[in-house]
Subunit: 270 residues, 2 copies
């Protein structure tokens, strides 16, 4: 299970300020700390970038590329920002992402073909609502896969995000357990080893017991790993969660087990 | 997932000494601490008790019964000790346990009928070896279930232990992941919601990295929970593992989620 840092996000005031001032140093410092903390990929999430989307995304991508060799995810709903970001990295990033929402199908999905990149597809209804039941999620996955193939893309370019619900939603924990089953079912449903990603910080977002949140996040992450999740989008400064991902990666590896850490288990690679 | 304390064991020198001297106080102190730490059941494991099996087991069971209301498991391979222990508690305990080993089938399994108790069945070959592959474990489960039913016992009295291998065994981690699948498969294989138990301390037993063992134990426990394990036999002083079990129990509960702990989630009940 690959570890993707969700830390480079506009919701972090230091990041918002650095983007606003086009100051690379706070971005570079954060990316370095993410890499040291175990990130195997960096998600760049500047929000919708309503002002100067091209300049801001180009600045961000170039800043991160000057700082790390780690693969990137470009995480914005703004197609202009996405296109500029993809141009800045020569198409060497994962697009995060599209869904059945008409704007996303029309303006985001085609960028994956133009730049020949992988793209994340969210299991959301066309009105952007989250499906409640596991069976609804699977129906959405089938429709998403159809639209993805109609866009002329190879199936290996698709990474499905089943959308982890916060526990504080109504029946949030029941939906969260449904998501586990969806991840386990997708390869059978679509007929190939489909890649998956999940934003694990969602589970415990919002108000809650800060002392209990880490154990919920870590336990749920282990369940996701066993279900076959390919990429975990996490706050890499949650050291317990990163340690859990590494342990799961070791448990699920075909390599010979040793209590000594190896480079591959450290990086959360399989 | 019920939390069963594995702490009252002959391998703890204080317990061995207390049994040797028939001194109830160290036993009572340990049981009280297990209950405070979150135990929902107590496994009494005095070893084979080659000397004075009846007296020693009677002493142990009476001592524990004077200390706690928690349900008991009687964990010895000595049929005389088991019979004495079951007599001392009026048959109000789980027998831990039998297997396809001829002595166990002949002398242990019938006690479950005599005392009308639940009994744990280990997935072991008749020669007491552990099956290596998941498919072998399932074959042993079918044979065990047949022998169990031939003994005239109701299927609700059976609790299957798939035997967690230590990670330091050859391919131990691969076998450990097979065990997860076995637990998930057993209800389909046997055609009813079969109860299961697993000794979680086994996973990290032996030499190893003490700083990494807890995260392996906790991550693996979450995987077992998601697979549907009924009872977790654990060292209840491993606070991280007990916290993980409680979090998993809450995630898998049908009750309304709240960040405030409830009595049922504290006890690891479903």
């Amino acid at each position: 299970m690959h570890i993707v840092a969700d830390n480079l996000t506009i919701t972090n005031p230091a990041v918002a300020d650095a983007i606003d001032r086009s100051d690379p140093e706070p971005i570079r410092d954060l990316v370095r700390r993410c890499e040291r903390a175990g990130a195997g990929m960096i998600d760049i999430n500047p929000g919708p970038l309503s002002k100067n989307p091209k300049e801001k995304m180009t600045f961000l991508v170039e800043t991160v590329l000057r700082t790390t060799q780690l693969p990137l995810l470009l995480d914005t709903s703004n197609p202009k920002a996405l296109e500029a970001g993809l141009t800045a990295c020569g198409g060497n990033a994962v697009i995060n992402g599209f869904s059945l929402e008409p704007d996303k199908l029309e303006f985001i999905l085609p960028l994956a073909r133009t730049f020949d990149t992988r793209i994340i597809g969210y299991l959301l209804y066309p009105n952007s609502n989250v499906p409640i039941e596991g069976a609804e999620r699977l129906n959405v996955a089938l429709e998403l896969f159809t639209r993805f193939q109609e866009a002329g893309l190879d199936r290996d370019r698709l990474i499905i995000d089943p959308v982890i619900p916060p526990l504080i939603w109504q029946n949030g924990h029941i939906q969260a357990m449904d998501v586990i089953k969806v991840i386990r079912t997708l390869p059978d449903l679509l007929g190939y080893p489909v890649q998956t990603i999940a934003g694990i910080s969602n589970l415990t977002s919002g108000p809650g017991d800060k002392t209990r949140k880490p154990v919920f996040e870590q336990s749920y992450t282990a369940m996701l790993a066993e279900a076959g999740l390919t990429m975990a989008l996490v706050n890499v400064f949650h050291t317990g969660t990163v340690a859990a991902i590494r342990a799961c990666t070791t448990l699920m590896s075909d390599e010979i087990f040793s209590w000594a850490e190896t480079a591959s288990t450290r990086d959360g690679k399989r």
